[in-house]
């Protein structure tokens, strides 16, 4: 299985696979990561503040999304939408579904992080005359985000790999691209190892960015 011909295949396919990682998998994961974080912050805030009805809706959202497979969510969104006359771009649908799905997980992370900010921070904000939203924006969210950051980044790293599910809705990303190439020669195994190595490369870069980011966000003078 591992001979000169395989080596040649690996070399020639490397750029082809890589380009789909850079063009599809990574952008998909990154955009969805940003959007999911926005969703997570909103959903976490609603629960933190205990907004009556909206809170229940958010719990329902988290329950449904965490309880069902991402693949099915993707298919429901992509093939279900046309039933309502909406013909969306598959990449767009993938971005939205990944954002919504990851948003549910990250919302729980953010909520826990917000609850870990001491209540005194909120009270002190009130006592200098700030409004609830001002306190959220300047005090609670920055501190919660710092706490949640490593977990959120972990989720991003997972998501880069999960993008392969998008093949069910016509999005050809890095993993499907690998299958295409492997399908030409039936030489799946070496190519799968190759794509794993490329994922590893991306994840190493992301881990590095995470470390930098953690330092950038600062730990507010706390010695570690």
């Amino acid at each position: 299985m591992f001979n000169a011909q395989t080596l040649e295949l690996l070399i020639s396919s490397f750029p082809k696979i890589l380009v789909y990682g850079l063009k599809v998998s990574v952008p998909l994961a990154l955009i969805a990561f940003v959007l999911s974080t926005v969703i997570a912050v909103f959903v976490a805030m609603v629960q933190y503040a205990g907004v009556p009805v909206v809170r229940q809706i958010c719990r329902f959202y988290i329950w449904i999304i965490r309880g069902t497979p991402l693949l099915v969510q993707l298919m429901v969104a992509f093939y279900g939408l046309p039933l309502f006359g909406i013909n969306a771009n598959p990449f767009l649908v993938a971005v939205i579904v990944f954002s919504i799905c990851e948003g549910a997980y990250s919302a729980e992370t953010m909520r826990a992080a917000m609850e870990a900010v001491p209540a005194g921070q909120l009270e002190a904000g009130y006592c200098v005359g700030m409004s609830y939203m001002q306190i959220m924006w300047h005090i609670i969210l920055p501190q919660a985000f710092r706490t949640a950051f490593p977990s959120l980044f972990n989720a991003l790293i997972s998501m880069v790999k999960d993008t392969s599910l998008a093949s069910s809705i016509t999005v050809v990303e890095m993993f499907t691209r690998t299958k295409q190439i492997a399908g030409q020669s039936y030489n799946y195994f070496p190519l799968y190892i190759e794509v794993a190595a490329i994922y590893l490369l991306f994840c190493t870069v992301l881990t590095f960015v995470q470390k930098k980011g953690e330092r950038r966000l600062g730990n507010y003078g706390v010695r570690k």
Binding site: M75, F78, T170, Q180, A182, G183, Q184
Partner: protein
Amino acid sequence: GCGAKKSDDHLARIKEAGKITIATEGVWAPFTYHDPDTDELVGFDVEVAAAIAEKLGVTPEFKEVAFDGGLTGVSTGTFDMMANGVDVTDERSETFDFTEAYAYDHAVVVTLASNTDIASFDDLKGHTTANSAGSTYEAMGIEYGAAVSNVDTLGETMTLVLNGTVDATINANTSAQDYFNTTGTTELKVAAVDPEVTKYAVPLAKGSDNDSLREAINQAIADLRAEGKLAEISNKYFGADITAE
């Protein structure tokens, strides 16, 4: 466009749009795959579908998608049709309306060349096979009393046979031959051929909306067959004509 009232007839809508969307996997040689040299989507099904589109007077637009997604998309109208060596059974005919067959195939049993235990489908009883979940071949394996394992792709199935993890695999004769040709392996052989024929056809969503489209595709297939075009494509990919019964 949005807002404009859409025609109730699928064929009319396709003609209006000037294109037909065709779902296909793109990872299954020689039916639908990427040419190793040009990287273009090619294959028997791809060329047949393109020829059908030409007959309909529209441009083919291929959508590469996983098998389950492709069929789902056909049933919901996301794709107009699928060209992926979809084989017809009675049960499937209740979910989709199939066109006439454009190719025929036979199921074969593939084993190690050294295997002497299995010489017919009946010999599968008590042996292990591997196939992809939900495939016709998986059902056959169960029917003949084999213990069926599931994997995703043909390459994986063959690997399992080569490893000795399973005793045999059932697959389309066409696929098996292509695998032998592409990999040049001599360690495997066709141990048995099923006399029953497998029909490859185009699945369309159920409903009278599709009547005229099905008619048009049937006509296109008949014309292509009469013109010798189907045979030409078949010879190009299989080295044999599988388009006549």
